[in-house]
Symmetry: C2
Subunit: 126 residues, 2 copies
């Protein structure tokens, strides 16, 4: 028997241009978790330079300063999210989580008979 699963992909655009996606928010989260842009870049298979460019692009698109850098020191450079960056990531995660909840609810409401069927679905049989 088939088990149907609803899926969704979410992103933000500004003037038709991608400004936030799962991938981009993951980059920001990795920076927040590790305190290191180099580590975050490595996790995503990006060069440091490309990850830095991506962060600056996101900052420019959102109009929010997202990261704070401390150069040098014992362990080398250190990159953290700014307070506004952390608030944005939290808000975006809530957006994703609430939409995931709505996806399940609306799927059950409109297409639930697909899932609960045995053999031939009961759609249209109500």
């Amino acid at each position: 028997m088939e088990n149907f699963t609803p899926r969704q992909k979410l992103w933000l655009e500004a003037d038709g241009k991608l400004v936030m996606s799962d991938y981009r928010v993951r980059l920001l989260e990795l920076i927040a978790e590790s305190g290191s842009l180099a580590h975050a870049a490595g996790e995503l298979g990006l060069s440091y330079r490309r990850a830095w460019g991506k962060v600056k692009e996101i900052e420019g698109n959102l109009g929010i300063p997202l990261v704070q850098s401390e150069v040098g020191g014992a362990g080398g450079g250190h990159t953290t999210l700014s307070e506004e960056g952390r608030a944005f990531v939290r808000a975006y995660r809530r957006f994703q989580e609430n939409m995931a909840t709505e996806l399940e609810r609306v799927f059950h409401e409109e297409l639930g008979s697909l899932r609960s069927s045995q053999g031939k679905p009961a759609i249209g049989g109500r």
Copy 2:
């Protein structure tokens, strides 16, 4: 000033396999509108054979007989959606429409300050 727009893509999977998407439901709608698989195929730039194969694949995946064909007659063959096919397309459209409504609502709720900002967004400033 930037004007942020939330976007979403929806689809259904069964056992990790794509079973319904915007594209597939569009194919079914074009068949319903035109009464012709050849016309629907042409609109999507598909060969008749490929469109027919796609419809049969969707039927198999969903476990619903979607189309009814009448062969021959004055105007050649004629393909319509079955009652269950029409009911499925209507249900899927409601699923898409309700999710579009939720997208706007949840975006405003969680990320609305991005949109309403002048210059620097007020996220984190609440």
